[in-house]
C-alpha cells in the first residue's frame, strides 16, 4: 500500500501523497470554497465583437437592479489609472476596455452584487453601443502593409510586436549553399488552451481597519502576483497578502495576472468588503492565456548519408491583441532556440516575429516550458521528413545525429549548454521495449496487404529550470527559488518554498528531499507553499522549474541546517567537530559508531542545550540561483492503426521513456507523464481554437474544445533511464512538461508514417479523422 510511510531515506521511493487525505474527502480548499462574511460576487460583461469602438455604455439599469452594489467600466478604472496594466512580456494590456475592444470576450464592464445570480442578472442589463471595426484574425494578414492597425496606443504604428533571433546566420547560410540535401517544411502548431479543470478566480478582501489586502487567487506564482499587484495598485507590498490555496490544476494557465483579479481588487477597495470573482469555463477558454499558435518554417541541410549540417527556422507567432506571453523578460520567444533538439548541428539560425491579432492574449502555457513544445515538435517533425526523403529508418537517422554522451556539457549552436544526456541509451531502451524491429516487420506485412499502420518516434531534449540570474528574470526579478526549513524542538519540521504546486505533489516530494538530507521520514516534514506572508519569495511553479530551482534550494537549505547540527552533535557527543560522522540518519563519533545522536536529539538540544555562544534554534533559509538549466530528455514511440473507411486513428501503443536524472518519487513522475502524454494526445488529435474572419472564437467551451475522456484516452507505457544533472544538488532534472513537449511529434510522426506509402510527408495538427479521410479519398483508398 503506497500510503505515507515512516521509513527513513525516502528519496527515490514511491511513497503515497500527503495531499491526498484531504482531497479524497472533499476537504481541499480551492478559491471558490473561500467564503467570507459580507462577501459579494463579481460578474464581468464581455465584448461580443473582436474589434469595435465603444460608443457608449449604459449602466443605469444594472445599477438599479436588486442586490447590485457597484458597476465598473474602463472609464472608472482609467480615472484610477488602472484601465491598463503591465504584462509579463513588457507590453501593456487593458484591464477593462476604454475606447475600443480588441478581442471577442474582452472585459468591458463589471457588476458587483450580493449573490452570484444577481450579479449575472445585472450584467445582462448593461447596454454597450459598439461600432464594429475591420478585424485582423490571420497573423500573416496582420503584417500586410494595408492591414488595420490594432494597437493605436502604441508608438510604433504596426501590428509587428518583435523580431527575435538566435544562432549564426552567415555560417548557417554557407552550410545551406553547399548542402547536397535540403528539406523544407511549413508546420503550424495550432492555438490550444490549457483548460485546467478549475477555472481562474479570486476573492479580494480589502480590510481598511488593518490597511491590508488579502487576495485568495488561483496562482502559480503568488509572490510575483503580489509584486505586480503592488506595482499596479500602488499598495505597499507588505500590505498585500496573496494566498494561493489548493489549485485545481494550472498547466500554465494560472501564471499571469488576469483583469478579473484586478477588477475584483478595485471593487473590494471601493466597497471595503470581500469580492469573489470566479470565471466560467467559457470565459476561461475564450479570454485567459492560450498556448502555441506558431506558424513555423524549418529547413534542414544534410549530407546524403543523413548527417545533419544546419537548421534554419522562421516563425510567425500569433500573440493576440496584447503581448502577455509569460516569458522571462529577455526571451520574447521563450526558449524556442532549443529547436536544434537532440542533434549535433554545426550551425543554426532561428528567427521569430511576434504579431498582434484580434484574439485573446497568451502563447506561453500548457506544459510548454517557454515554447519548447513548439521547438521540439518542429525538429522532431522535420527530422522525420528528412528520414523519409533519404529513405532512412527514422531511428537510424536519429542515432546517427545524436549529441553523443561524451560531448556533454554540450554547447549548442544557438547558445545553450546542455548539462547531460545519454540519448542513444534512452532511444535504444525504447526501441527494445516496444519491439521496434518486430513492429517494422509487422508494418511491412500489413503494407503488403494494403493496411495502414504507423510507427512514430520522438527523441526530444527539454530545457527546464529557469534560471540563472544573469539570463533569466520576470519583471526584473531574477528567477531563483527558495526554501525555508525550521526544526521544532521535538524534531519535527516545517518547510516552506517559493514555488506553488497545482497537483504536482510538492507536499510529498519536497518532504522527501528534506527528509533525505536530514535523516528524517517524510512524515516528519510539513511542506507549505502559496502564502506570501509566510513562504520565502520565489518565482513560482511553471516551466517544470520546481525541482531544478526550489528542489535545489531545499537540499542546500537542509545542508545548511546540517552544518549547524554537526556543531551541536559535536557538543552532545563531546568530541571535536571534525570527529563527527553523518551517515545519512544520525551523527556519530568517528571510530565509535555506538555513540550516536539523531537529528531529533540535535533539534531538541538546539532549543535546550546549545554550546556556549551559539544562537539557539535550528533553521535556515536558502535562495538558490541555479548555475544552469536542466536538460531532461526522452524517447517516445507511438504505434497507430488507421481505419481506411473513416480515417480514424487508433493509438495501439504508446511508450514514453523519460530521463529526468535522479528521481525523487517514481510514482509521482509516472503520474506526471500519464497526464502530459494525455495532453499531447489531445493536442495531436483533438484540440484547436479556430477564429473565423470576423474574429469569433469558434471553440470557447468544452462542447467545441475537446478534452479527452477516459474512453478516448489510450493506455500509456512508461520507462526511464537515469542521467543525473551534474550541476544540480541532488542530480535531479525537471520532468513535468516533458510528456507534452515530446509526445505530439510521436503521434504525428506515426500517422504520417502510416500514410507515407501515399507520399504524405506532413499533416498539421489536430489530426481529425476527416483530414486523414480526405487524404485517403484523394488517393482512391476510400470513397
Amino acid at each position: 500500500m503506497a500510503l505515507p510511510q515512516t521509513e527513513l531515506r525516502p528519496m527515490g521511493k514511491p511513497i503515497g501523497r500527503k495531499e491526498d487525505p484531504r482531497l479524497i474527502r472533499g476537504k481541499g480548499h480551492y478559491v471558490d470554497d473561500v467564503m467570507l462574511p459580507n462577501m459579494l460576487y463579481l460578474c464581468i460583461v464581455r465584448s461580443p465583437y473582436a474589434h469595435a469602438r465603444i460608443r457608449r455604455i449604459d449602466t443605469s439599469a444594472a445599477l438599479a437592479a436588486p442586490g447590485v452594489k457597484l458597476v465598473l467600466t474602463g472609464e472608472d478604472l482609467a480615472e484610477m489609472n488602472l484601465a491598463w496594466m503591465p504584462t509579463l512580456a513588457g507590453d501593456q494590456q487593458m484591464v477593462m476596455a476604454t475606447g475600443k475592444v480588441l478581442f471577442q470576450y474582452q472585459e468591458v464592464a463589471a457588476v458587483v452584487a450580493e449573490t452570484r445570480a444577481q450579479a449575472e442578472d445585472a450584467a445582462q442589463l448593461i447596454e454597450v453601443d459598439y461600432e464594429p471595426l475591420p478585424v485582423v484574425a490571420d497573423p500573416f494578414q496582420a503584417l500586410e502593409p494595408d492591414a488595420p492597425i490594432l494597437r493605436e496606443d502604441k508608438e510604433k504604428k504596426s501590428n509587428h510586436i518583435f523580431h527575435w533571433e538566435a544562432g549564426d546566420r552567415e555560417e548557417t547560410e554557407a552550410l545551406f549553399r553547399d548542402a547536397p540535401v535540403v528539406v523544407k517544411q511549413n508546420v503550424r502548431f495550432p492555438r490550444v488552451h490549457p483548460a485546467p479543470l478549475e477555472p481562474c478566480g479570486c476573492v479580494s478582501d480589502w480590510d481598511a481597519a488593518r490597511n491590508k489586502l488579502t487576495l485568495y487567487v488561483t496562482s502559480q506564482a503568488p509572490h510575483v502576483h503580489r509584486t505586480v499587484l503592488a506595482m499596479v495598485s500602488g499598495l505597499p507590498e507588505h500590505q498585500i497578502h496573496v494566498i494561493s490555496p489548493d489549485v485545481g490544476g494550472g498547466f500554465g494557465n494560472k501564471v499571469p495576472v488576469y483583469p478579473g483579479y484586478v477588477i475584483a481588487t478595485v471593487a473590494s477597495l471601493k466597497l471595503g468588503v470581500p469580492v469573489k470573482w470566479i470565471e466560467t469555463r467559457t470565459e476561461n477558454i475564450a479570454s485567459t492565456h492560450f498556448a502555441r499558435d506558431y506558424h513555423m518554417t524549418a529547413e534542414i541541410a544534410a549530407r546524403e548519408d543523413g548527417k545533419v549540417l544546419a537548421l534554419r527556422v522562421k516563425t510567425i507567432a500569433d500573440h493576440g491583441a496584447f503581448d502577455a506571453a509569460a516569458d522571462p523578460s529577455k526571451f520574447p520567444a521563450g526558449l524556442f532556440s532549443i529547436v536544434t533538439g537532440s542533434y549535433d548541428f554545426k550551425a543554426a539560425f532561428v528567427e521569430v516575429d511576434g504579431v498582434y491579432t484580434n484574439k485573446a492574449p497568451g502563447g506561453v502555457a500548457y506544459r510548454c516550458s517557454f515554447r519548447v513544445t513548439e521547438a521540439s515538435y518542429l525538429i522532431e517533425r522535420v527530422m522525420n521528413i528528412l528520414a523519409q526523403r533519404l529513405k532512412m529508418d527514422p531511428a537510424e537517422l536519429r542515432l546517427k545525429n545524436f549529441i553523443r554522451k561524451e560531448q556533454f556539457p554540450y554547447h549548442s549552436p544557438t547558445g545553450w549548454v546542455y548539462d547531460s544526456g545519454d540519448y542513444e541509451k534512452t532511444l535504444k531502451l525504447a526501441l527494445e521495449r516496444i519491439g521496434y524491429e518486430e513492429l517494422r516487420k509487422e508494418q511491412a506485412e500489413k503494407r503488403a496487404r494494403g493496411e495502414l499502420m504507423g510507427i512514430g518516434i520522438s527523441t526530444f531534449t527539454e530545457v527546464v529550470g529557469a534560471g540563472p540570474a544573469h539570463q533569466f528574470d520576470i519583471v526584473g526579478i531574477k528567477m531563483f527559488d527558495s526554501a525555508q526549513i525550521r526544526f521544532h524542538p521535538t524534531g519535527k519540521v516545517i518547510a516552506r518554498l517559493g514555488v506553488r504546486h497545482q497537483g504536482q505533489g510538492h507536499e510529498t516530494t519536497f518532504a522527501q528531499i528534506i527528509a533525505e538530507e536530514l535523516g528524517l521520514s517524510a512524515d516528519d516534514v510539513l511542506i507549505e507553499e502559496g502564502d506570501t506572508d509566510t513562504a520565502p519569495y520565489g518565482l513560482g511553479t511553471y516551466a517544470s522549474r520546481s525541482t531544478p530551482t526550489a528542489g535545489g534550494a531545499a537540499a542546500l537549505c537542509a545542508r545548511r541546517i546540517r552544518e549547524k547540527a554537526r556543531k551541536i552533535a559535536a557538543h552532545l557527543l563531546e568530541v571535536g567537530e571534525d570527529d563527527v560522522v553523518w551517515d545519512g540518519v544520525a551523527f556519530s563519533a568517528k571510530g565509535l559508531p555506538g555513540r550516536a545522536v539523531s537529528m531529533k536529539d540535535v533539534a531538541f538540544a538546539a532549543y535546550t542545550n546549545v554550546p556556549e555562544g551559539m544562537e539557539p534554534g535550528l533553521e535556515a533559509t536558502y535562495y538558490y540561483n541555479p548555475p544552469n538549466l536542466t536538460f531532461p530528455n526522452g524517447a517516445y514511440i507511438a504505434v497507430v492503426d488507421i481505419d481506411k473507411g473513416t480515417g480514424a486513428v487508433k493509438v495501439r501503443r504508446f511508450l514514453a521513456v523519460d530521463d529526468c536524472g535522479n528521481v525523487i518519487n517514481p510514482m509521482v513522475v509516472e503520474g506526471q507523464v500519464h497526464g502530459g502524454v494525455t495532453e499531447g494526445f489531445a493536442i495531436a488529435f483533438m484540440q484547436d481554437i479556430p477564429y473565423d474572419a470576423d474574429g469569433n472564437c469558434l471553440a470557447p467551451n468544452l462542447m467545441d474544445y475537446l478534452v479527452p475522456t477516459s474512453a478516448d484516452t489510450p493506455h500509456w507505457e512508461t520507462d526511464r533511464t537515469v542521467t543525473p544533472s551534474p550541476h544540480h544538488p541532488i542530480g535531479a532534472k525537471g520532468v513535468g512538461e516533458s510528456p507534452n513537449v515530446g509526445s505530439p511529434a510521436a503521434f504525428v510522426n506515426a500517422v504520417v508514417d502510416a500514410l507515407s506509402p501515399l507520399g504524405v510527408e506532413h499533416i498539421d495538427m489536430p489530426i481529425f479523422p476527416w483530414k486523414v479521410w480526405n487524404i485517403l479519398r484523394e488517393h482512391g483508398i476510400t470513397e
Binding site: 500500500m1 503506497a2 500510503l3 503515497g16 501523497r17 495531499e19 491526498d20 487525505p21 484531504r22 482531497l23 479524497i24 474527502r25 472533499g26 476537504k27 481541499g28 480551492y30 471558490d32 470554497d33 467564503m35 452570484r116 445570480a117 483548460a195 485546467p196 479543470l197 478549475e198 477555472p199 489548493d246 489549485v247 485545481g248 490544476g249 498547466f251 470566479i278 466560467t280 469555463r281 467559457t282 497545482q502 497537483g503 504536482q504 505533489g505 510514482m667 509521482v668 509516472e670 503520474g671 500519464h674 497526464g675 502530459g676 502524454v677 494525455t678 495532453e679 467551451n701 468544452l702 462542447m703 478534452v707 475522456t709 477516459s710 474512453a711 478516448d712 484516452t713 493506455h715 500509456w716
Partner: protein, 171 residues
C-alpha cells in the same frame, strides 16, 4: 421555495430560489464544497453526486428537483472515520493530482460499483467517460477502481464469512 433534501443521510430543510442549481445549493448553502464546478456545458462531471443512488451532474439539476430525494456527496463516502475503499484505492494508486475532479470521479465510480461490482477496464472507462480529468491521464484512476472493486468484494466476502461464522457458533 422550501425543500427537504436528505444529504449524506442527514435531512436538510432549506429555502432556495427555483433557479438555484443543485451544485451551488450543496456548495454554498450546505457548505459541502467537495463538489466542484469545472464547466458550463455539462461536460466535465466535477459536480457528480449520487441522486437516489445514481450518479448525476449536479450542475444540471435544480435544487428544487431534489425536494424529497436523497443526495450523497463525496463528504458522505467516509463512514465512522474509515475511508471508503474507493478513497483509499485512489490514495494508494495515485489516482489524483490536483484533486479537483476527484470528488466527482469518486462518486461516478461509486455509482458504477453499485451496479457492476467487478467491471472490466473498458467498462470503467465507459462509466467514467462523463468525468474529465486533466492531470492523471486516467490510467491510475482505472487501476484504483479495480483495486476498490477487489477491496469491496473482499469486504463482502468477509461479511459473508463473519455472518456464516456467527450463524454456526455453538457458544
Amino acid at each position: 421555495m422550501n425543500i427537504r433534501v436528505k444529504v449524506n443521510g442527514r435531512l436538510y430543510e432549506a429555502d432556495v430560489e427555483p433557479r438555484t442549481l443543485l451544485a451551488y445549493f450543496l456548495r454554498e448553502q450546505l457548505n459541502l464544497t467537495g463538489t466542484h464546478i469545472g464547466c458550463d456545458t455539462t461536460t466535465c462531471g466535477a459536480c457528480t453526486v449520487l441522486f437516489d443512488g445514481k450518479p448525476i451532474k449536479s450542475c444540471t439539476v435544480l435544487a428544487v428537483q431534489a425536494d424529497g430525494h436523497e443526495v450523497m456527496t463525496v463528504e458522505g463516502l467516509e463512514s465512522n472515520g474509515q475511508l471508503h475503499p474507493l478513497q483509499s484505492a485512489f490514495w494508494e494508486d495515485h489516482a489524483l493530482q490536483c484533486g479537483y475532479c476527484t470528488p466527482g470521479m469518486l462518486m461516478a465510480a461509486y455509482g458504477l460499483l453499485q451496479t457492476n461490482p467487478a467491471p472490466t477496464d473498458v467498462e470503467i472507462r465507459e462509466a467514467l467517460s462523463g468525468n474529465i480529468c486533466r492531470c492523471t491521464g486516467y490510467m491510475n484512476i482505472v487501476k484504483a477502481v479495480q483495486n476498490a472493486a477487489r477491496k469491496m468484494a473482499g469486504e463482502n466476502q468477509e461479511a459473508i464469512e463473519e455472518a456464516a461464522a456467527s450463524g454456526t457458533s455453538t457458544d
